[in-house]
């Protein structure tokens, strides 16, 4: 599946995709910057609120960020839909994520899809490998 990059400014593109996560009452969709250098997906705590999840009840891990510091991330196993497929994924939440957008990292996603970045044509391709 080809997913066009987001055009953040005229002629400037970024691999930001849409992802759905199941809440008890409905599917919630949000954005995520595809970060092949991130071990885990990390979502903003507001997304946990939208999903009616008390995020600090998840499995706590510490992840190293760009400045060498450690941030706490709380992992939850959630039903997600991405690139036309539904599966369970390990999704982290952190109130120490220093950006306004969510990150889609390797855990759960890069074993289920071949993810290719095409920065010349400004699209990402996600090829399903199966559960």
């Amino acid at each position: 599946m080809k997913i066009p990059y987001l055009e953040v400014e005229k002629g400037i593109f970024a691999p930001v995709v849409r992802l759905e996560i199941a809440s008890p009452t409905r599917w919630i969709e949000t954005e995520a910057y595809v970060d092949s250098g991130a071990s885990y997906s990390i979502f903003k705590p507001e997304v946990a609120d939208m999903l009616k999840i008390h995020f600090i009840k998840g499995h706590k891990i510490l992840l190293t960020v760009g400045d060498g510091g450690l941030i706490p991330v709380y992992l939850h196993n959630l039903s997600v839909r991405f690139a036309g497929h539904e599966f369970n994924a390990s999704v982290g939440f952190s109130d120490k994520l220093g950006v306004d957008f969510n990150l889609l990292g390797r855990a759960s996603f890069f074993k289920k899809f071949i993810i290719c970045f095409n920065d010349r044509a400004n699209f990402l391709s996600a090829t399903w490998l199966g559960k």
Partner: protein, 69 residues
């Protein structure tokens, strides 16, 4: 709207129109915008049908995207 057509509309039209803001989308239409993700979601919850999918997206700026994560 065909999915691929909507994907393109989202990635181009919405991204350029709502740069630096949060937007709630239901049935491929923007129904609320603002500067706070949760506030935008709460607005959308009041408008959207009970079990409808709600999308709440942050549309990053060029500055946001200059990252070394």
């Amino acid at each position: 709207m065909a999915k691929s057509k909507y994907d393109f509309k989202f990635a181009r039209e919405f991204a350029m129109k709502y740069t630096g803001k949060f937007a709630a989308v239901v049935n491929e239409k923007v129904i609320a915008t603002g500067k706070n993700r949760l506030e935008v979601f709460r607005k959308a919850e009041k408008i959207a049908p009970p079990s409808a999918k709600i999308g709440v997206f942050y549309f990053p700026t060029k500055k946001d995207m200059l990252t070394a994560l």
